[in-house]
Symmetry: C2
Subunit: 194 residues, 2 copies
Amino acid sequence: MKYPGKANSEYKPTISYGNRGMTLEEDINLSNDFYRDTDRAVIYKKPTPITISKVEYNSNKERVIKEAYFKIPSTTDYNGIYRGKYIDFEAKETKLKKFPLINIHNHQIKHLEKVAKHGAIAFLIVRFTTLNETYYLDIKDLTYYLENVKKSFISYDYFNEKGYLLKERYNPRIDYLSVIDDIYFKGDLYEKDK
Amino acid sequence: MKYPGKANSEYKPTISYGNRGMTLEEDINLSNDFYRDTDRAVIYKKPTPITISKVEYNSNKERVIKEAYFKIPSTTDYNGIYRGKYIDFEAKETKLKKFPLINIHNHQIKHLEKVAKHGAIAFLIVRFTTLNETYYLDIKDLTYYLENVKKSFISYDYFNEKGYLLKERYNPRIDYLSVIDDIYFKGDLYEKDK
């Protein structure tokens, strides 16, 4: 258990974890731990892609990577399954009051569009760190913006208008699956997986 | 294009790539490249999980990992989406005429069972290298074996009886999605994603 509170109790935290400098990545990882432990979804962050060029054995006969390089990721950071659907997303922070598109690789956007075409639930999570606000932006709204607004950034107002504000809580830290329930499963009777 | 043949032509290879010592991982990666290029599925191998302990800058101001360790993977190596379904699998080779369970981490089996419970298509691909035979074994048959046969390995005969032999071809190298069509979409009219 890496998230605050206990998996088998009622998830009442004993200490406040409110905004004490956790990164978006940490918040999402804790949320995914919580979702998995409560069997709501199985979503993981992928490992960092690297190219290994030198491996040696240390005195414990353990393999140690002695030289490796960071690779440009071919896909997004997070994927998994929720309510039978394939989930795929990328998460980014920005200090600005807009989201510069340089923050996300173009082929990552193409990847999100491609999996969405195959039936995935695909989206961005963007945190405006100076405002302390985190938004869910669905791939369809991202695509719409890119096709219709020829700018090098996505405006904060667009997140405000088309995105979904993800409130910070204790468990899960950011409950992005509830937004997915609203967008993709509205009207469905929520049935927990047996 | 990393697989033999051309993406935009009829996939007629000019050289024979038959069994010239490609590993199962290489064959699966080429198959996944082919599936993606033909827009049949979006399935990737995850990067190798590592713990980075030292990063330096080289003379080109490039970040170089100078010390890192291999981690035990929490999940499986491959996942993605096919015909709207979440796909998740692990691939292993063995030189023996049985599959020793020590070749797969127990939590990887648990992971496959968990995602299957959430609606995924989950399975193992096992290659018997000395026989040059590669099998698809569905998670339900893996679970059945583990629960009913108390052995430290899965017998070759079980793969023969319950698994699906994956014939090696040019493109895709091993067409595991056709097996999925048979098991999961039998009777469906195959509709290519638009």
